[in-house]
Symmetry: C2
Subunit: 195 residues, 2 copies
């Protein structure tokens, strides 16, 4: 077993072989972790929220559900979730444009750059930024009212475990958003165990 840190406000990319499991741990309990998965042998095939929603016939997976790629193939399967199961598949990764709109005038870390930098660090120079699977993100959509960005419903040490259904590169960003309450105003590190 190997344990990796997703540093606070930063990203991480890891190769994971088919059949192995990885556990994403919400170390401090209130941290959103943006999550992407790419086919290790073809960066143009990746976990796709708009394809996965159809395949699982849900907005958010439950244990046993597979996430599929933009070629409709299972890429990872959610096997365990000790959190209340509140995650998001509807919201784009934060980016420099978003923070400018929110009134930030200086540089702000963001999940879109964290993905690009994490991939670059393992030698992948360029990939799409697919819609992320936002683990622990509590951005409930209420018909007629819109999104309610709330603190995560998870508690310290909650985790989700995925099985890799092909050789993959898994990517994470410990979301640096500190304006709405989605990270309780205090973005922290999270951890990943590859088992």
């Amino acid at each position: 077993m190997a344990v990796y840190t997703i540093p606070a406000r930063s990203g991480l990319a890891l190769p994971v072989e088919r059949g192995r499991h990885y556990k994403v741990i919400n170390t401090h309990g209130y941290q959103v972790v943006d999550h992407w998965v790419f086919n290790a042998t073809d960066i143009n095939e990746f976990m796709s929220m708009e394809h996965a929603r159809v395949a699982m016939n849900k907005l958010v997976p439950k244990p046993g559900d597979s996430m599929v790629t933009n070629q409709r193939r299972p890429i990872v399967t959610l096997v365990e979730d000790t959190s209340p199961g509140v995650h998001d598949t509807l919201i784009a990764a934060c980016d420099a444009y978003r923070y400018r709109q929110l009134g930030v005038t200086s540089y702000h870390e963001n999940c879109t750059e964290n993905l690009a930098n994490a991939l670059k660090a393992i030698g992948v120079p360029k990939a799409e930024t697919p819609c992320p699977f936002n683990l622990f993100q509590n951005s409930k959509y209420i018909d007629g009212r819109g999104f309610d960005f709330r603190p995560a419903a998870s508690k310290k040490g909650d985790y989700v475990t995925f099985r890799a259904d092909m050789d993959v590169i898994v990517c994470f960003s410990a979301c640096p958003h500190d304006i709405s309450p989605i990270n309780s105003g205090n973005p922290t590190e999270a951890h990943v165990e590859v088992i």
Copy 2:
């Protein structure tokens, strides 16, 4: 005013200048039209459902709402909708993989290829396939039950009108799906007026 046909089961790509309007007409009333928009001067900037949902704070726009790009800039604004307003931003474009999974063993037209072919026809060799804005698609999501793929709620001649907020390439596919009832089992042509 110019009128264009989106042929049944096929696609169309058109440049539209900033400030001009285009009207997407559900000529026969029950046809889903997949819709994508690209910045005419940078194909890597495009209308993005996951960014638009946040910007408009809705799953589906109402007249007055702007759709934004993956750089969070307004690209087109919905200015009029004579249909009941039932559209979709959650579901991927159909593709060859989807029809194989649905049991189709021979070639089946699909919206993903229709987009690529329509762009190629106007000299754009390669672009991403963003999640489409599925006009008139009635795929209601019911919590705990999943998606209910129903015939369109629109009637013959219903239309939606958009204003281009920058110079754009607008793309459409008259969805060829003839397995679930989303096109009432009879995919047809639709029309676009550029005003």
